[in-house]
Symmetry: C2
Subunit: 458 residues, 2 copies
Amino acid sequence: MKQEFKQYFKELLGNDNACFDVLHQRVYSYDATKKHYFPDGVLFPRNENDIVQILRFCNENHIIVVPRGAGTGFSGGALAVNGGIVLSFEKHMNKILEIDLENLVAVVEPGVINFNLQEEAQKHGLFYPPDPASMHFCSLGGNVSENAGGMRAVKYGTTKDYVMALRAVLPNGEVIRAGKRTIKDVAGYNLVGTLIASEGTLAVLSEITLKLLPLPKFNKTAIALFDDIKQAIDSVCKALSKGLNPVCIEFLDLLTIEALKQKFKLSYLTANTALIIEMDDNEEENLLKNINYMRDFFLQMGAKDFKIANNEKEASDIWFARRNCSQAVTIYGSLKLNEDITVPRSKLAELLEGIRKISLKYNFKIPCFGHIGDGNVHVNVMLEKNDSYQIEQGYKAIEEIFKLAIELDGTLSGEHGIGISKAAFMQLAFSEAEMNLMRNIKKAFDPNNILNPFKMGI
Amino acid sequence: MKQEFKQYFKELLGNDNACFDVLHQRVYSYDATKKHYFPDGVLFPRNENDIVQILRFCNENHIIVVPRGAGTGFSGGALAVNGGIVLSFEKHMNKILEIDLENLVAVVEPGVINFNLQEEAQKHGLFYPPDPASMHFCSLGGNVSENAGGMRAVKYGTTKDYVMALRAVLPNGEVIRAGKRTIKDVAGYNLVGTLIASEGTLAVLSEITLKLLPLPKFNKTAIALFDDIKQAIDSVCKALSKGLNPVCIEFLDLLTIEALKQKFKLSYLTANTALIIEMDDNEEENLLKNINYMRDFFLQMGAKDFKIANNEKEASDIWFARRNCSQAVTIYGSLKLNEDITVPRSKLAELLEGIRKISLKYNFKIPCFGHIGDGNVHVNVMLEKNDSYQIEQGYKAIEEIFKLAIELDGTLSGEHGIGISKAAFMQLAFSEAEMNLMRNIKKAFDPNNILNPFKMGI
């Protein structure tokens, strides 16, 4: 990067907030993909006006800008794949600006950690439901940019269901406001909708207004064991159709269960399939009634066992299994290709059967677990990291899995986004007309293509 | 319109589906704005492929195309303000294609009437919540294009919360699919989000996939009477913050109540403000507990009375008041300028006080009623239709009301959209940067500006 550009940024932000040293380049070079791309520099805007100045300058000088939340993404959205500036909000723009108790709304800067908002909301008896697995580390700006999901999505939806309004800076430095602190707003195009899940390619978020809910007063955890995964899936579909409304309904397949047993000696996983269920309610009596009803229904549908946790310790033990799936499956290989395809939940059995066949064809272990309630499966193709032939084959298996998901009317990604990891597969899911339309939308926001370019295959 | 164009459409669709006679022009010239603009012709596509052929031809020949649902809109979205072709889905593309009981999804053509889907869903124990006042007549294509709301929005959200996937035809005739039949999908830009509320200016919807819910088993209606509207608003804000979750919570102001009493002799409206409340639940016991809790809370907050309907007849009597507000207020004038501004619900008292001042300044009666739970107020400036000076003044009052709503962090429209009715006011709500961005998005979809042009001030 030209010395004069560095000088401009240092004068604008101060030396501490415009860093071009190797240490900063390295620290901001990677995310959860574990790929490394060194940016030319890292800028820490202190406020929206800094973002305006930075973007205006970068747009005039055709400098690439990569907005970065906490770098917990699995798809490379925050990676400076072609150099340029990483824009990080974690140092300054990390404040909860307001908890509005009358309208049940939070206003935050993009660098706020998801869990910090959850905790702050809870102090006021309120609830921010989206709970990506990385919630203790990931930022709300990143959550909005990727439309992060989580376990509670089956009852409470994903990030997009909570974004009421945004302030954002366009690549040319203009500030736009989108949406309102109101449930209803139909004036103009749905710019909030367009910006959600745009992976930092259209505008830089400077302020986020999120809907909060009253915190449910009671919750209960349970585990259901099935010997037949199809029975388990069928039970879930039928229970949801009946109006049972669990917060989470997670599944572990046989390989995942075996790994958990081997690694953590979890003696209670005595079946081929486990479902982990959480329900909540404002009335304890009603909660017990519902979870007992689910138990009876699941047992009637063929479950071998259904245990309701009697206290927090028992609940925590049950959740231990789900929280440690990712770590447990490492017994099958030193390298994990981890994808998060999603299909309509009625197609889950077909998807898992197809994955089993792909697993046999390539002779890889492919443990699967995830969010059965919303058809979102974390598929883990387990490989050895020093075997380059195996890795090549692994990516072929992944491509077959993507094709299968698309055939079953599913999607390449339920939660992680496309970024660079799945960019090559966009053509499986989208027609040329759809890709061109997305490119045109990108141009409408960012004609100079400075904002997180070369992402999403766009 | 050139004879050769008419000929093309007649050959493509048959004489019955390509109509250029005055009768069709007249019938398809107006909507709920009561303004008239004669189109050159009306086309009735039989399927998506017809839409493709029509749009491709119109795009090549720069013929304006105005998609039209049922013409129930209040903002002129379906009006051919500059001639061209009206594209109507009511004749052929009006079928419910699928009710998917496993994934709780409906797939419909754009011409399906909202209430027909509600009824069909109900047969299967399912529920499609969005309930615009015109639900017996309006089409789902129109609902998606305007992001229609309704009374149940406070608990169940608006149309956008139910659209999972769309098929749509771009102005150049290319078909795109957006979204999936899954709760989670983050592959590519959120095209579903962009198309919702785009008022038929970006693409023509050919198929809509909607989320359904299990039908709640029980509901209860109640009416609460307050002498102080601020107390009523404050009670609602606090009740919602406590986790009470009413399906609807509607308010009638003093002028509306007086009109209802005068016109319909409703003796039970013995206060300055009425709130009409509906709650639902799958457990009758729980429902009663919640509505009793709300009664006790409202009485404690200062309500004069809180009556819970004991049966359907009593519930229907209560709803009679709300359903007839629009008609009742006509006692104040022969012309009604009816707007649907929305503010954060905590600002409702300030909004209503501001409207009262505007009413005094212009000496117009301005009865207000609507959706207190989501801050969406139907404001009715009552005038005499033969008094042109008064009408001019009425529009000035409306402009002041819009400005007030924007000052209170509200929006020009909670439900009706912008169309032509509010196009002139867009500059009150949006900056030049925001308007330019919307124009760029329009160009990204429709470079020749053939699709419903001159709407939304874009």
